[in-house]
C-alpha cells in the first residue's frame, strides 16, 4: 500500500488526512505536502493519522520538520491518533512530549492549549 494524502480546511485549521504507510519511500511526499501548506500560509495543521498502517522514524522526522516550520510562523501542528502501535513509536522516541496528540479531529481542531 502506498501513501494517501488529502487536505481540508476547518475554520483556521488545515486538516491533513494521511493513509497507508509512511516510510523512507513515501515520507518525502508527506514532507512536500507539509512544506507546500506552510508556504501557502497554512500555519495551523492537524495531521490525522487514523488511516496510517505503518510509521517509521523517517515519518517522525517529517512530522518534526513540519512542526519546526509551523512554529517559525507561530503556528501549530497537532496529531490525531488512537492506534496503539503508532502511539508506541511516539512514546519510544519521547515525541509524545513534543506533539499534542488528540483522539479525534474535532478535539484537535477545537484545541487551543
Amino acid at each position: 500500500m502506498d501513501l494517501s494524502l488529502s487536505t481540508r480546511t476547518v475554520g483556521d485549521r488545515t486538516v491533513v488526512e494521511v493513509g497507508g504507510e509512511i516510510d523512507v519511500y513515501t515520507a518525502p511526499k508527506l514532507r512536500e505536502q507539509l512544506v507546500e501548506l506552510v508556504n501557502d500560509g497554512s500555519f495551523h495543521l492537524v495531521v490525522d493519522m487514523e488511516g496510517v498502517d505503518f510509521l517509521d522514524s523517517t515519518g517522525l522526522g517529517v512530522l518534526v520538520g513540519g512542526l519546526k516550520r509551523v512554529r517559525a510562523h507561530e503556528g501549530s501542528l497537532r496529531l490525531v491518533c488512537n492506534q496503539e502501535r503508532i502511539l508506541k513509536i511516539f512514546r519510544i522516541t519521547g515525541l509524545t512530549k513534543v506533539f499534542p496528540i488528540h483522539t479525534s479531529v474535532e478535539e484537535a481542531v477545537a484545541a487551543t492549549d
Partner: protein, 147 residues
C-alpha cells in the same frame, strides 16, 4: 538453523519488501503475533539506515538481510558496506551544502533509537568495511499434540 537471505539495491522502495519478507519469515518461525509489528518496524529502521548509508557514501553494493531461524529464537541481521566513522566525527565525503549532513545524522540516530527502544536483544557493530545490526526475538515452538 534455517536461513532466508535477501539482498536488495539500496533504494527506498525496496525497504517495504524487506519488511514484508521479514514479517512473513518471523511469523513462520514462531515469533508471537503481538511482536510482529515490532519486527516489521525494527527491520524497516535497520534497512532504512543501511540504504541511507549506502546512498550517502555512493556504494552500489546491495544491502544484505539475513533472517535466521534458530532453536528458540529468531534473528535478523542487516548488513551494510559503508565505512563507519567514530560517532561525532564529520565524515570526509560529507557534502558542504546547507544542513543536509546534520539532518541525515539525526535521522540515522532516530532510527537506532527506535530499534533500541523496540528490541531488547540488539547488537550494533561497525567497522571500516561496514556495519551490522543483529536483532533477536524469542520464538514459541509449535504446540505439540497431546494424545
Amino acid at each position: 538453523m534455517a536461513t532466508v537471505e535477501l539482498r536488495f539495491s539500496a533504494l527506498p522502495e525496496h525497504v517495504r519488501t524487506a519488511r514484508l519478507v521479514a514479517a512473513a519469515v518471523a511469523r513462520r518461525a514462531g515469533v508471537d503475533e503481538a511482536v510482529l509489528d515490532e519486527v516489521r518496524l525494527a527491520v524497516g529502521e535497520a534497512c532504512t539506515r543501511a540504504v541511507g548509508l549506502h546512498q550517502s557514501a555512493g556504494i552500489s553494493a546491495p544491502v544484505r538481510v539475513s533472517l535466521i531461524e534458530e532453536e528458540k529464537q529468531f534473528s535478523i541481521e542487516v548488513g551494510d558496506e559503508a565505512p563507519h566513522t567514530v560517532p561525532g566525527d564529520k565524515s570526509p565525503g560529507a557534502q558542504g551544502g546547507a544542513d543536509g549532513v546534520d539532518v541525515e545524522t539525526e535521522e540515522d540516530e532516530m532510527g537506532l533509537a527506535v530499534i533500541s527502544g523496540l528490541v531488547d536483544d540488539v547488537e550494533v557493530t561497525a567497522g571500516e568495511n561496514g556495519g551490522l545490526i543483529r536483532m533477536s526475538w524469542p520464538t514459541t515452538p509449535p504446540a505439540t499434540l497431546v494424545s
